[in-house]
Symmetry: C2
Subunit: 246 residues, 2 copies
DNA sequence: GACTTTTAAATGTCTGACAAATGAAAATTG
DNA sequence: CAATTTTCATTTGTCAGACATTTAAAAGTC
């Protein structure tokens, strides 16, 4: 554990890689304590600040946690689903915004994956998830709601639908696909008519889930996808026309 | 940009959060240069090592890159799909291994999501993806292949299937679901008969994709899921019997 | 025995310094 | 003047040493 050749990368990056590899391979297990910073500095033959930079890299990925005090130190962290969710959402959001991913592409991905868990959701939906979906539908139909709040509620509705599948791995994988759409949807202005149409489709979806009617849920999701993509096309076209017509 | 209240978190974490927020919100755009470490230390009223720890945290998430020299510094990084892939895979793999996710749960998630992109893949599949699938099938049918290599080839086959959908967002979202299964699959020993059955199903899937027959692809994937889950159950049951019988 | 104090170990932070890389400006040369 | 070389300032990478803070266990006290 002291390999620092003449690579062209940072020492702190090399050390972080070495420790990360040890965690992934299982040589370091959950809740195991790493050597102290001073000991690591000795082992890798670098200074303590360099070790600290490496540890901060790992902390940023929630791979370790640190604790001060006599029995403190750096411990291998059990990566929780919650931690993974937020990382997933951050990465997905940035990926979409930085690579100019089209609304259409992101939308297609989102609905393709959501439709995949609709059958499971229909089969296993709990009263809890149904209540959340109904509550969000109610919020969406209230007048005076800002577009942003409408989008946020839309995301919450779809999250409940996904979580209804009762499979935490699916919930995790779809967290990014569902939440990263929000910034893109925020670019759309929803007319009262649009909102009514979406609320109606959401209601139909919730009804289908409640009735455990998977094919109906799939059909309504497909229709919602079609409507959303058409809406985005219209809004973008109108915006383009306004710009060129100035 | 100088808010460091009496929180109970690290200063470096607070600074990293502030800069990350600026990137996500768009106040810092791609390729923009951050102030030098000395300037950041001044602005946040902390020392340079503390700023450096914050920057390393961001670098670990590929949010920034650093460059030495006269015109160097830290730059907002365009998060590439490739970077996002590997982060996604690392996180998914750790999430599954650290939380004792059952084979069944992970398998259900993987196939539910894969089946979601089968129709798109059938519609858009390129000769490239088909060739990859055929090549992996061929590899899988060669005798003398280790179980590990067989699993790796299996992952490559499924990756090609997913990539065939031609939607980079889908490919990104599913990278974790597909690749994180590999360590779990590596715990299974495949008999010659098992391998033959899997190869046969893979061939049927590739045929369906080539024929652009989405329903057939879906059916074969469902069958492959059923077979894989049954296989895992059998292997685990046999292992449990052997342990209790000792 | 219960409570308080001390102490040691560990991380968090700071100061100051030097090394190395790198591009641009300045000096040199044909 | 143009091309090349040299110098140089800027910035990150690394190090050494120090002090502050937190924490739990050990020692001491009633």
């Amino acid at each position: 554990m002291k390999i620092d050749p003449e690579k062209r990368t940072d020492l702190s990056a090399q050390i972080a890689d070495a420790i990360r590899e040890a965690i992934i391979s299982g040589r370091l297990i959950v809740d195991e304590r790493l050597p102290s910073e001073a000991e690591l500095a000795d082992q890798f033959d670098v200074s303590r600040p360099t070790v600290r930079e490496a540890l901060k890299r790992l902390a940023a990925q929630s791979l370790i946690r640190t604790q001060r005090g006599a029995t403190g130190g750096a411990f291998v962290n059990r990566l929780s689903f919650e931690d993974a969710y937020s990382q997933q959402i951050t990465t997905s959001t940035l990926l979409l915004s930085m690579n100019a991913v089209s609304f259409d592409t992101a939308c297609e991905a989102r609905y393709a994956l959501e439709r995949a868990c609709a059958p499971l959701s229909a089969q296993r939906r709990s009263p809890d998830h149904l209540a959340t979906m109904r509550a969000e539908i109610h919020r969406q139909s209230q007048p005076g709601l800002t577009d942003e709040a409408f989008c946020a509620s839309d995301v919450a509705f779809h999250r409940a639908l996904v979580d209804g599948a009762g499979n935490p791995v699916i919930s995790y994988q779809l967290a990014g696909a569902v939440e990263a759409m929000q910034p893109l949807m925020n670019m759309i202005t929803f007319t009262a008519r649009d909102r009514a149409a979406i609320v109606s489709l959401h209601t139909a979806i919730a009804d289908a889930i409640e009735a455990q009617d998977a094919p109906a849920a799939d059909a309504q999701l497909a229709e919602l996808e079609r409507y959303t993509r058409q809406l985005a096309r219209d809004v973008l076209a109108a915006r383009a026309a306004r710009v060129s017509g100035t």
